[in-house]
């Protein structure tokens, strides 16, 4: 607007430059007081969203400037100093009057309160076989100079003592003095050093542990990591194998045999390290058969798979078809053979073969019983006529193959880990070789011969 004034142009707005005119109008309206127009124009000629300059503050500054401010190079004293050294610095002098008062930084001169003991107090309370008076005095002097920075004190101490020893001596001396000086024990019981005395042994132990942590180099860390990875791999492969076997035995109820199955891996694992994982996971499986429901339930919760228990279940399942007497006979046979009723070392292989064995014995006993029946029949028929032979071929077949060596089942059992029940039973029957009915073998053969 005023540009037009200067130029002497008419104030009436011309139709063409109407946009331009509206802007200068706004500008002149909004120019605030207190700043010059040029400065305001620096902001782009528009008002800022938030008022950046407080008008009230500007008024205050003008008032202050009425006084005479000079800066002078004056000396000052510092109450934090014990001598009267006078240094010089720039001082803001108002109206010729230098500021009074202490040096503004003197208030930062803080120090720790260290108890000072007298000689008699030392004689009475503070004598310690490990420390001479000289050393104790020196310690306290250093404590005061370095404000209880024990790391630095230990560094500057004449004789080499560890930080814990120094701390121990300092805190015990302070504690003893406090207690000795107090009029009654109740007064000082609130003081932190009285309530919780410095525990040297704990500190030493803590530092030892920390130094062990810090002394493990990257090399060792890498080795440890490798070992752990290896162990994990092994246990995972075992889990895979275990779960494959598991799926064959539908009777097993606590088939929660994943994850923590590694817990039972006994000492025959290949991993050499004493890693904590194994130790913590190792639940000592109770060898006693007295497992009540609560234990099994809790175990099921932990998903721990206990082989002996599983074995027993499997045995029960397998022998459920037979009666009590039969089970007794099976067990009798086992004992005759010199096999423990419960395997001593219940590894997977051993348990599998044990089960195998039991089943085969069961089958054997069944067959023996059937044989006896048939023999009885046969003998009764013999009195009758020889014509009734259709039942014998079965006998023959069975009988011939009964001669096979007894230890076969064991080896078979070992091989046939993943096969189906039916498959196993069939060859099992063939490979049975009882010792008792040796004589009865002959008769079916004879019958065969005579038939042929």
């Amino acid at each position: 607007m005023d540009a037009k004034d200067i130029l002497g142009l008419p104030k009436t707005p011309l139709p063409l430059p109407q946009e331009k005119k509206s802007r200068p109008q706004k500008d002149s309206q909004r120019k605030p007081d207190g700043i010059s127009r040029e400065v305001y124009a620096l902001t782009g000629g528009l008002a800022p969203l938030m008022p950046s300059i407080d008008v009230a503050q500007q008024k205050r500054r003008a008032q202050v400037e009425n006084e005479k401010i000079t800066w002078q190079w004056l000396s000052f004293t510092n109450s934090a100093r014990k001598d009267n050294l006078q240094l010089y610095h720039w001082v803001r002098v108002v109206n010729g009057v230098p500021p009074i008062g202490d040096y503004s930084f003197a208030k930062y001169n803080k120090s720790v309160d260290i108890l000072k003991y007298t000689d008699e107090e030392y004689e009475k309370y503070l004598i310690d076989p490990m420390w001479t008076k000289n050393e104790t005095d020196q310690l306290f002097d250093l404590c005061e100079r370095f404000d209880l920075r024990f790391v630095v004190i230990a560094d500057r101490f004449q004789s080499s003592r560890t930080v814990e020893e120094l701390k121990d001596r300092y805190y015990s001396v302070s504690r003893n003095i406090l207690i000795a000086r107090a009029s009654s024990p109740g007064d000082v019981s609130g003081h932190p050093i009285v309530k919780e005395p410095y525990n040297v042994s704990q500190e030493i132990e803590r530092k030892r542990a920390l130094s062990m942590v810090l002394s493990q180099t990257k090399h060792q860390e890498r080795k440890d990591a490798e070992v752990l990875a290896e162990a994990k791999r092994i246990s995972e492969s075992r889990i895979a194998a275990r779960s494959a076997e598991e799926s064959e035995l539908p009777d097993t109820s606590n088939a929660g045999a994943e994850g923590t199955e590694r817990a039972i891996v006994p000492a025959d694992t290949a991993s050499p390290s004493s890693s904590l994982q194994f130790a913590s996971g190792n639940v000592a499986h109770p060898t006693s058969m007295a497992e009540n429901a609560s234990v099994t339930a809790s175990l099921r919760m932990l998903r721990v798979y206990m082989r002996t228990y599983a074995l027993e279940q499997m045995v029960q399942a397998a022998s459920s078809s037979a009666g009590l007497r039969t089970i007794k006979r099976v067990e009798q046979t086992l004992q005759d053979l010199g096999v423990n009723l419960k395997p001593k070392v219940p590894t997977k292989a051993v348990c599998a073969e044990h089960l195998e064995l039991r089943k085969e014995i069961l089958t054997l006993l069944n067959l023996q019983k059937q044989l006896q029946y048939k023999e009885a029949e046969g003998s009764s028929y013999r009195e009758g006529s020889y014509a009734e032979t259709p039942s014998t071929p079965k006998h023959l077949q069975r009988g011939v193959d009964q001669d096979r060596a007894f230890p076969d089942p064991l080896s078979f059992g070992g091989e046939r880990v993943g096969k189906r029940d039916q498959k196993r039973k069939a060859p099992g029957r063939l490979s049975e070789a009882p010792s008792s009915p040796a004589q009865s073998n002959k008769r079916p053969r004879k019958l065969k011969a005579s038939d042929g």
Binding site: L85, Y88, F105, A106, R149, V151, L210, L214, Q216, K218
Partner: protein, 445 residues
Amino acid sequence: MYGGDEVSAIVIDLGSHTCKAGYAGEDAPKAVFPSVVGSIDQMDVDDSDNLEKDSGPVLDSKNIVRPFDSEKSKGKRKLYVGSQALGYRRDHMEVLSPIRDGVVADWDIVESIWDHAFRDCLLIDPKEHPMLLAEPSSNSQQQREKTAELMFDKYQVPALFLAKNAVLTSFASGRATSLVVDSGGGSTTIAPVHDGYVLQKAVQSSPIGGEFLTDCLMKSLESKGFTVKPRYSFKRKEIRPGEFQTVDLDLPNTTESYKLYSQRVIASDIKECVCRAPDTPYDESAYSNIPMTSYELPDGQTIEIGADRFKIPDVLFNPSLVQTIPGMESFEETAASVRGLPQMVIESINKCDVDIRRELFSSILLSGGTASMQQLKERLEKDLLEESPQAARVKVLASGNATERRFSVWIGGSILASLGSFQQMWFSKSEYEEHGASYIQRKCP
């Protein structure tokens, strides 16, 4: 400035290679000049040598202030201080260093250096300014007392403080606790600082510093057949435009030490330009096919430097490499007992209390002229990561600016002397008169 209060203190850092002096509160020293002096024994020579105007070209002046020869007649000796004075060749001028094996041996020379700093470079009267001096991290009581005596008796300073180099470097980076790796001209020192105090029992030092590396480089070049001619010993004439011919000058009265000094100046320039710390430990066969870098000597000769670029800095990490450099056999015994930089760092930290080790590992500071070598920080960090414990996080810090690394001690002093809460810690003249020089041990921990 929060916490700041200027009392116009002067900060002086007398290193083994350069002396730095300036006002506290500024961010760089005003006076930087070599801390060696030229000395002419008065008995041998007349003063008329000064009139001889020889054509020795002027060295790059490290001195930013106006040139002025400082002559100090000290009985029988005339001492010349400052890079300008040293750059001018004089007959029979020996180059002497006041510091031998890390301790001050010749106090006259130190005086002359201080005089030069005060009167010629900074133009101050020591009576008016408190002085902050930087001292080596393992300085003996006797040295400190002598310093105090000299300052108070001769220069009449109002107040004095002696601060350790490592502490000042630590303050320059804003930390109270750190491990300072200071590799300067004369030696490399590793000092842990805890809460502003140096832990003296854990300080490690090795004689391998910038000057040692310069010597190695010189010997290596000589063995390859390149001679480094000092600047005063030749004159270049322009025969045709753009073409120069070098004429050797015969100056029989030049001392051996001066010649060596001039050669070292050139060699250290080569080292600063060309050398780099290798990423892996130096292996003769691996670096045999490295492309060569060329460097033009002042006399016009161009030399090619290949494997030496990496071999020389690797001496810091593996001192036994010195044995492979022909001509350095005299240092073999010392080099055998010296360990490399990463090993010294680990040793130093292991001598400290267990509680602070983690903090020291995570704040390792580099300072000193040699520390501004390229790739040094990365190489040190890599080596330390290998040898340090898993639980600790290793971090090597160095200010990005090479000037800051060189002057970090001085900068720390500048910060310290201008703090308001430091003003109570000065060792004043009245305290000196009252308690004697030994009181400095108490006042300047």
